[in-house]
Amino acid sequence: SSSSGDEALRDKRARILSRGLPKQKPIEGVKQVVVVASGKGGVGKSTTAVNIALALAANDSTKEVGLLDADIYGPSIPKMMNLKGNPELTPKNLMRPLKNYGIACMSMGFLIEETAPVVWRGLMVMSAVEKLLRQVDWGQLDYLVIDMPPGTGDVQLSVSQNIPIAGAVIVSTPQDVALLDARKGAEMFRKVHVPVLGLVQNMSVFQCPKCKHETHIFGADGVRDLARALGLDILGDIPLHVNIRETCDSGQPVVISQPQSDA
């Protein structure tokens, strides 16, 4: 009788704790959500997210794809997708996503000046992320690709607690220090019950444009080893190529501007 009393107490505690958490509710009209994350900064999340969204659309022109830039502090999507301007409001007071290359995009970058920093604490960030998820007129989307900020904090928690996520793609470079953080990123998704689709090894090798000599600037195969250790698939191996960076900086991502290249 004392053990059933303990269990009843545990259940009651769990129920009270879960009352404080947001309820997970899918976004209307959006079939599947894929998040692109890493834990580490500067490994190519935004670049990968943008090119994944474009590739999904290019592979099947009947699919509608959306791209959400959840990096509140450093939104890169507007620059990479060559989009600028404040979103219009629909009659229902939802923000209309900006479109380019057939992809519907929303980002904090459309709501603030390009050079204005967002120096906000977690609570404000949570409410901004909710708005970017739910107060946008996404329409009918087959895929919504979400570009996450670096780290394992408020934004990641808010997104995974708010909406059901079909899967997460974790991007990393082969560098030890990046892999440490990628591992934490994978662990975080495990904690919030989001399936990890696999790892992408970015900046894996640099080929000299003159002599074609290959250098593994960030180390070789680090991501493959981590994937094996965590039992995950390698979804892609991307070289460090000047074209990828140049095309992103100029707003014409490589999947669109150079679909035939190795990169």
């Binding site: 900064g41 450093g74 408020d154 990641q156 990046a178 975080m188």
Partner: protein
């Protein structure tokens, strides 16, 4: 009267960037080592709670921290074991553990890092920050305001 743990630190330097992956931790570490070579007493405070890289860079990721009367004792690193380092990396049960915290919890730990670490007398304390401009940054600056905050170094790549 109790002496604040940071009272013996002559200059505090923040290393910021906004963008991730540009080399903040690398530069912080190299800067600390360079200042040490120049004969200064140096400490490093790693407030990147989600991705603490500095212990790994200085090969002390398996170290543990101890308590003393004035608080936590930093881990001493470098060739002559004279650079004081504090990072959340030392407080995790396993170095691979993910720190998935919301703002208020992060703020509380940062305040502790600032007030409860026995830094001793230092010429420079270098503070390595995570990417972004968020809780960690706001809390760090607020906690350091009463002390000798020299300024911030901004790291970026040309992209």
């Amino acid at each position: 009267a109790e002496r604040a743990n940071l009272a013996g630190v002559r200059h505090i330097l923040l290393v910021l960037s906004g963008k991730g992956g540009v080399g903040k931790s690398t530069i912080s570490t190299e800067l600390a080592l360079a200042l040490r070579s120049a004969g200064k007493r140096v400490g490093i405070l790693d407030v990147d709670l989600c991705g603490p890289s500095i212990p790994r860079m200085l090969r002390v990721q398996d170290s543990a921290v101890h308590q003393c009367d004035s608080g936590w004792v930093p881990v001493f690193v470098g060739q002559d074991k004279a650079i004081a380092l504090m990072s959340i990396g030392f407080l995790l049960e396993r170095p691979d553990d993910a720190v998935v915290w919301r703002g208020p919890k992060k703020n509380a730990l940062i305040k502790q890092f600032v007030t409860d670490v026995a830094w001793g007398d230092l010429d420079f304390l270098i503070v390595d920050t995570p990417p972004g401009t968020s809780d960690e940054h706001i809390s760090t600056v607020e906690a350091l305001r009463p002390f000798q905050l020299l300024g911030a170094v901004l790291v970026t790549t040309p992209q």
